[in-house]
């Protein structure tokens, strides 16, 4: 194995200039997905177009079904997965919400569907800029949720997502969140690994005793009463618990085979070693944050950044330990949770909950920022950092503030 892996590493990756959406489409091809369903909605529709092109060009041999709605889209792949097909699906914003009924039943049935959510604001008003509320809506239901911030990571994470979702210990769906526009529509240079590497990393999907097949006669999802559902939920919860381990294993082996290192799979730390305060966020806002941090550091402000990748499962203990090292924390929410504790966003509410049992709990502020695809500017990031610094110095600050808002 070690030797085989070593020889794989020497295989040169091809480099291509592609968008995040295209990178996901390439991952579908490399994963040799069997059934793909589509229904157009921006920005997810870009993936659908790229996949359609791959199929039309004969590069990908799969069932490509254009459904009549997102609900059918997700139902079709759910059933295809039950009979043993590797599936891919996706949507955005209200399209994802239209599929909600199908989304809710997928984890309980232990369907390892991989989906791409091209994050988009929830209409009305008709808006297609990024907000994270669409993907976050399934956060309690047994979906694994991961955010990426560049096309390379989108490709790699899609492969990892198949590996984790289809692990018999997990068998849970996984949604890869890609920020609309910033990731779905902008091209970057991406290393495309060889098929051999992917094959070494990703075993075939084996549904085992849960396979719906005449040779394995089973009934899926019969009616149950109050005597059964709690046990079913507990089983799904156990699968999500096991996902922590499986995710770690997958990243470790990914590094071995592909030679690309992601460090801690659950969150990325940027310039945190000596940081006094940190900002926390998800997705592509990492770019302006990192640039602003570099500028602030020139001014002597030791700011760091923690980018949460896996929102489900949420690495609570680890994150709490990390954030406890700083004198104050600012969480940037590209989402909202109206009426939530301290009127914060979803991420801040989760991080605060994760921090509660921690030995050290620095002041934690929340910033609602970049909604509807609004640019998160360098001055915005600096402003947020300044506010966090004030909190670190013991000056009381409002727990939630809207940044980049016309006031």
């Amino acid at each position: 194995m070690a030797q085989a892996v070593a020889s794989l590493e020497q295989q040169a990756d091809k480099t291509a200039l592609i968008t995040g959406s295209e990178a996901i489409a390439v991952a579908c091809k490399l994963a040799d997905v069997d059934v793909i369903t589509a229904y157009p909605i921006r920005p997810y529709d870009t993936v659908m177009q790229y996949v359609a092109k791959l199929v039309a060009n004969g590069e990908l041999d799969c069932e490509y079904i254009v459904a009549e709605s997102e609900h059918s889209q997700f139902e079709i792949v759910k059933h295809a997965s039950a009979v043993g097909a590797r599936v891919f699906c996706g949507s955005s914003g209200v399209g994802w919400m239209y599929a909600f009924e199908a989304l809710t039943v997928t984890p309980g049935l232990r369907i390892p569907m991989v989906a791409m959510v091209g994050n988009r604001a929830l209409d009305d008003p008709g808006a297609f800029g990024v907000e994270h509320n669409d993907a976050l809506a399934v956060r309690d239901l047994g979906w694994q949720l991961v955010w990426v911030d560049n096309p390379q990571e989108a490709l790699d994470t899609a492969l990892i997502a198949y590996r984790v979702a289809e692990d018999r210990r997990v068998f849970l769906p996984c949604a890869i969140s890609c920020d609309g526009a910033f990731l779905t529509h902008s091209q970057a240079l991406v290393k495309i690994p060889s098929q051999e590497k992917v094959d070494a990393f990703l075993p075939p999907y084996n549904r085992g005793d849960l396979l719906l097949h005449p040779d394995n006669p089973i009934t899926v999802a019969p009616q149950v009463n109050e005597d059964w559902l709690m046990e079913i939920r507990r089983q799904t919860a156990a699968a999500m618990e096991r996902a922590y381990t499986v995710i770690r294993e997958a990243y470790a082996e990914f590094e071995q085979i592909f030679g690309r290192r992601y460090g801690n799979p659950f969150f990325e730390e940027y310039q945190t070693e000596d940081a006094e305060i940190v900002l926390v966020g998800m997705g592509t806002l990492s770019t302006p944050v990192k640039v602003a941090i570099r500028e602030m550091r020139k001014e002597g402000k030791k700011v760091g950044f923690v980018r949460v990748r896996w929102f489900r499962p949420f690495a609570a203990e680890e994150l709490a330990k990390t954030l406890g090292r700083f004198s104050a924390v600012g969480i940037i929410d590209r989402d909202f949770s109206l009426g939530s504790p301290y009127l914060s966003g979803v991420l801040a509410t989760e991080v605060r909950a994760a921090m509660y049992p921690a030995a050290k709990r620095p002041p934690m502020l929340d910033f609602i920022c970049g909604l509807g695809g609004r640019e998160v500017t360098l001055p915005d990031v600096k402003k947020m950092s300044d506010i966090v610094y004030h909190a670190a110095e013991g000056k009381p600050q409002p727990l939630t503030q809207w940044i980049g808002l016309r006031e």
Binding site: I218, T219, A221, N225, E226, Q235
Partner: protein, 392 residues
Amino acid sequence: MGRLFAVEIVYRGIFQKTLAKNISRAIVLAAHQEGKPGISFGRYGDSPERNGVPAKNFAIVATDDQTLEEGMAKYEPKEVDISIAVDDTLCKGVESWAWYGLQPINRLLKPGGTLIVTSREEPEALIEMCHRKEYPYQLAIVKGIPSFSGLWVYKEDHSDVRILGAIAKVLPELFSLESVQKAIRAEWKDELKATSAARSYERITTVTVPPNQGNPEEPFKFELPKWSEMREGVTIPAIPRGHAMENTATQQVGGWQPERNPTFKKFSTRTMRPVVDFDTCIKCTLCWLQCPDSCFDVTPDGLYDANMQACCGCGVCEAVCPVQKCVTMVNETQFRDNDSQWEMWNKDKEGYKKWLLEKIEHGPGPQRSHGFRYRGQYEEQVPEMLEIAREG
């Protein structure tokens, strides 16, 4: 602590849904006349909209609010003072749609509690149908044909108030006749109904069912698995396809018997069952083809034998059979077991013919209990039902 009373009303969906609800409500309202608080509810896991499927309503009453709360703190009563079956064929057992396996009609009855049944049968016949209990209980029969009272266009036959009058008699601590009459007047504004309740109060008699009398069959028991023992993915093994049948008398092998769910039988939904005249059957296959529950076993000699564990009594086979009186629906009270008719016929053809004629021609009780055997049957029976209500 005060006293807690619980009453269950067991009925068949959908035609008796309103009847059961009305009785349940009136129990609470009658007790309220005496200052007792109470609640009334339908069993949530049931499916009262499904034709014939056994379902339940509960009325819980207490002497004070705190005691009532103790009753309300449970999903549903674990024991009851009174069980009411508004269809006598329910005495054979109750397999709720929210699956618990077939459970005895008297399962929740406290020692000394009363089972009230609307029926034209004698107590002995009903006791034979009910599962045996380790302790004595009371049986009271409100004479009548199963009623659809209260639902849509179906005419009143006063089954509801007659049962309420009977409750006042068998459990006066719950409410008096006077209280229930007051509640009836307030709820229905019908003096005739108040009179019917009083008549029933006067006429109702109870017999004591001694311990261990009745159907000796062990009620269905099962253990719920731990979460870690259950199959994942909400999957259960499918029912295997089936196998050929064997005629034990002739050793002839052939035909087809589909496997059936061993834990969900469905037959407690039935109020009428088909009896088949194998001598006149022309083997046309229509009953087998049309039965919505695949109940017919195909015998080695090419006949069609309705499996009585599976048959829900819908009557489709009778309706489609092209031969007159070849398939006939007979009221379920006329049977004590679910044995194969074909096997009975096989063993003794003469004896079977006699048995068959007895069932279809000379059988006593009504041909209908729940549902209809034919269109307009209920309306036809209303005068008779009213007569029973008047005369007892």
